[in-house]
C-alpha cells in the first residue's frame, strides 16, 4: 500500500485550484466599480504556495496516486516548479500592465491560475485520460487569454486561430490515444509501456505514435505545425504571450518527454529520426521567417519556433541525457522568454502601441533599464555564454552530439548564428541613438512598478543563475530524467486491473 496520502501528490494543483476559486468568487462578489488589482496579489500568493508545495513534494517517495493516474517524482516536481514560477512571473507582470480600469482582471487571474492547474497536472499525469483533460484545461485557459483584447479585432482573431488549430491538434492527439488504447487495451502510461513490446497489432502502435506526435508537436509549435504561433503571439496581449509562449509549452514538452521516453522507448529508432527532422525544420523555418519580421512579437514568435527546434535537438540524446538536456532547455527558454516578453509588454504597451522593431529604436536612451534588460534577454536568446540560453543550447547540442547527431548540432548552431541576426537587429535598434526629430509623436516612457520589477528581477535572476551556476538545476533535471526513465514496477496492483484479454 501507498503510505503517502493521495492528496499530497496533487497538493500544488489543489492549492492552485483553491486560489482560482477564491479569486473567482471574490471577483464575482465585489461590487462592479471596485478595483480588482489586489486579486492579482492573491493569485500570486497562491502560486507561490503551490510552488512551495511542489518543492515539498520532493520529500515524497516517487510513486503514483489516485489509482495510478498521477505521479510525483523529481521529474514532475521540476516541471511543477518551473510552471509555477512562470505563472508567478506572468501574474506579477499582469499586475502592473493590465489596464487599470479593466473589470476583467479578476477573471484574468482566475484563468491564469486555473490554466496552471492544467499545466501542472499535464506534467504529472500518467494516465492518458488525465493527460487529455489537463491539456484541455491549459489550452482552454490560454485560448481565452489569447483573445483578451476584444476591442482591437486582433485579439479574437488570435484566439480563434489558436483555438481552431489547438483543437485540431487535440483531435489528432486523441486519435493517437484511441489507437494506443486499441493496441494495448489500457490508457495508463506504465501499462501501455509494458504492453507495447508484446502488443499484437504493432502497426496500430506505430500509427498511434505518429498521431500523438502530431498532436503534441502542434502544441509546442514545432514546424511544420507552427502556423498558428505568429498570429497568436501578435494578437494576444503581451503579458499573456509571456505566459503562453512558455508555460503551456513547458507542459507540452514534459508530455512529449513522457510520451517518447516512457510510453514508446522501444520505438526510439522510429521517433528519433522523426524528431530530428522536425527539429531541423523548426529551427530553419523559424529563423528564416523571423529574419523578415518587422513586428517584434511576430519575430519573437518565430524565434520561439526556432527554440522549439533547438529543444527538440535534445531528443536525439540517448537515455537520460536527452531528457535532462530538454528539461534544462525548457527552464532556460522559459526564463528568458518570460523576461523578454515582460520587457516587450512594458515597451509596447498592453495595446501594442509600439509594435515594430523601429519603434524600439533608442530604447536604451529612453529607458536605460528596459533597454539593458532587452539586450540582456536577447543575448540570452542568442545563446551568449553566462546566460541561461547558452547552457540550454549547450546541453541540448551536447546531448545531440552524445547521441550521434553531430549534423543536427552543426545545423542547430549555424541556425543559432543565423538567429543572432534578427535578435541583434532588435538589440541594436534598442541600442541605437534615437532619432531626434520624431515628428512630435508622443513616445511613452514605460514605468516599472513594484510587481513588474519583481517579475523582471525573477526572470533576470533565473537567466543568470541558469547561465552561471546551472549545476543545481541540471541536477534536478537529471534526477527527473532518471525517474522518467525507470517506470515504477508496481505502479498498479494487478488485481485491480480492469482490462482483460482481447476477444479471441
Amino acid at each position: 500500500m501507498n503510505p503517502v496520502p493521495d492528496i499530497y501528490r496533487i497538493l500544488p494543483e489543489v492549492i492552485l485550484t483553491l486560489t482560482g476559486v477564491l479569486v473567482m468568487v471574490v471577483d464575482a462578489s465585489l461590487p462592479a466599480p471596485w478595483p480588482r488589482r489586489s486579486l492579482g496579489w492573491v493569485a500570486a500568493i497562491g502560486t507561490t504556495l503551490a510552488l512551495w508545495a511542489s518543492l515539498g513534494q520532493l520529500a515524497l517517495p516517487v510513486g503514483t496516486a489516485f489509482s495510478a493516474t498521477v505521479e510525483t517524482s523529481p521529474f514532475t516536481v521540476f516541471f511543477h516548479v518551473l510552471i509555477c514560477g512562470i505563472v508567478l512571473v506572468a501574474i506579477l507582470l499582469a499586475l502592473d500592465t493590465l489596464p487599470a480600469k479593466s473589470h476583467h482582471q479578476g477573471e484574468y487571474y482566475a484563468l491564469v491560475v486555473f490554466g496552471a492547474v492544467g499545466m501542472c497536472l499535464l506534467t504529472s499525469a500518467v494516465e492518458l485520460l488525465l493527460v487529455f483533460i489537463a491539456l484541455e484545461i491549459s489550452s482552454i485557459a490560454t485560448y481565452v487569454l489569447a483573445g483578451y483584447r476584444k476591442d482591437t479585432g486582433r485579439g479574437p482573431e488570435a484566439a480563434i486561430k489558436y483555438f481552431l488549430l489547438g483543437s485540431f491538434a487535440t483531435a489528432f492527439l486523441l486519435y493517437g490515444i484511441a489507437l494506443i488504447f486499441g493496441a494495448t487495451g489500457t490508457t495508463q502510461v506504465y501499462e501501455i509501456a509494458r504492453a507495447i513490446p508484446t502488443a499484437q497489432n504493432h502497426s496500430l502502435v506505430l500509427a498511434a505514435l505518429a498521431l500523438m506526435l502530431v498532436g503534441i508537436l502542434f502544441k509546442v509549435s514545432a514546424a511544420p505545425f507552427h502556423v498558428w504561433t505568429p498570429d497568436v503571439y501578435e494578437g494576444a496581449p503581451s503579458p499573456v504571450v509571456a505566459l503562453l509562449s512558455t508555460a503551456p509549452k513547458a507542459a507540452a514538452f514534459a508530455l512529449l518527454l513522457r510520451v517518447v521516453y516512457e510510453v514508446f522507448p522501444t520505438l526510439r529508432s522510429l521517433w528519433s529520426p522523426l524528431l530530428w527532422g522536425v527539429a531541423v525544420l523548426s529551427m530553419t523555418v523559424g529563423n528564416l521567417a523571423a529574419l523578415r519580421q518587422q513586428n517584434v512579437k511576430r519575430m519573437l514568435a518565430y524565434s520561439s519556433i526556432a527554440h522549439a527546434g533547438y529543444l527538440l535537438a535534445a531528443f536525439a540524446g540517448l537515455g537520460s541525457s536527452g531528457i535532462a538536456a530538454a528539461s534544462f532547455y525548457i527552464a532556460a527558454y522559459a526564463a528568458m522568454n518570460v523576461g523578454i516578453f515582460a520587457v516587450v509588454t512594458l515597451v509596447s504597451g498592453y495595446e501594442d502601441e509600439l509594435p515594430l522593431i523601429q519603434d524600439f529604436r533608442g530604447l536604451i536612451y529612453r529607458s536605460p533599464l528596459l533597454g539593458a534588460l532587452l539586450i540582456f534577454f536577447l543575448a540570452s536568446l542568442v545563446g551568449i555564454p553566462f546566460t541561461g540560453g547558452f547552457f540550454g543550447k549547450f546541453y541540448s547540442f551536447t546531448a545531440a552530439v552524445g547521441g550521434g547527431a553531430v549534423w543536427l548540432a552543426i545545423i542547430g548552431l549555424l541556425n543559432s548564428g543565423l538567429a543572432a541576426a534578427y535578435y541583434l537587429h532588435l538589440a541594436f535598434a534598442a541600442a541605437q541613438r534615437p532619432v531626434e526629430s520624431d515628428g512630435g509623436a508622443p513616445v511613452l516612457t514605460p514605468q516599472v512598478g513594484v510587481a513588474v520589477g519583481a517579475a523582471l528581477l525573477f526572470a533576470v535572476a533565473a537567466t543568470l543563475v541558469l547561465g552561471i551556476v546551472p549545476g543545481e538545476v541540471l541536477h534536478a533535471a537529471e534526477a527527473g530524467a532518471h525517474t522518467l526513465q525507470a517506470p515504477p514496477a508496481a505502479a498498479v496492483e494487478p488485481g485491480v486491473m480492469l482490462t482483460s484479454q482481447p476477444n479471441p
Binding site: 485520460l129 487529455f132 483533460i133 484541455e136 482552454i140 485560448y143 481565452v144 483573445g147 476584444k150 476591442d151 482591437t152 479585432g153 486582433r154 485579439g155 479574437p156 482573431e157 488570435a158 484566439a159 480563434i160 486561430k161 483555438f163 481552431l164 483543437s167 485540431f168 483531435a171 486523441l174 486519435y175 490515444i177 484511441a178 489507437l179 488504447f181 486499441g182 487495451g185 489500457t186 490508457t187 505568429p230 498570429d231 501578435e234 494578437g235 523578415r292 511576430r298 480492469l498 482490462t499 482483460s500 482481447p502 476477444n503
Partner: protein, 111 residues
Amino acid sequence: MNPTYAHMLQQEVPLAWYLLLSAALFCLGVLGFLIKRNLITVFMSIELMLNGVNLSFVTFAHQWHAVKGQIFVFFVMVVAAAEAAVGLAIIIAIFRARATLAVDRIDLMKL
C-alpha cells in the same frame, strides 16, 4: 431473449468496419477543417473529428471489454462541450469585432 428469433441476430459485424468508419469520419473532419471557409463550419469539422475518435474508443472498449474506453468518450464529450462554449464565445467576439465569419477575411495579421 427468445431463441426463435435469435438466429436473425447472429450476424456479426467485424470491429474493423467500425474502425474504418471512425477513420473515415476523422478524415472527413480533417478535410472539412481544411476546405471549409466559415469559422463555425470549421469548428464543426473538428467536432466531426472528435466524433470519429469517439467511435474508435467505443469500438476498442468493446474489443477489450474495457470500460475505460467508454469513459474516455464520456470525458471527450465533456471536453467538447467546454470547448464549444469557449469556441463559440470566441466566434461571437470575432463577429462583433469584424462582422464576418469568413476564414479568409480573418486576416488582420499576415505577413
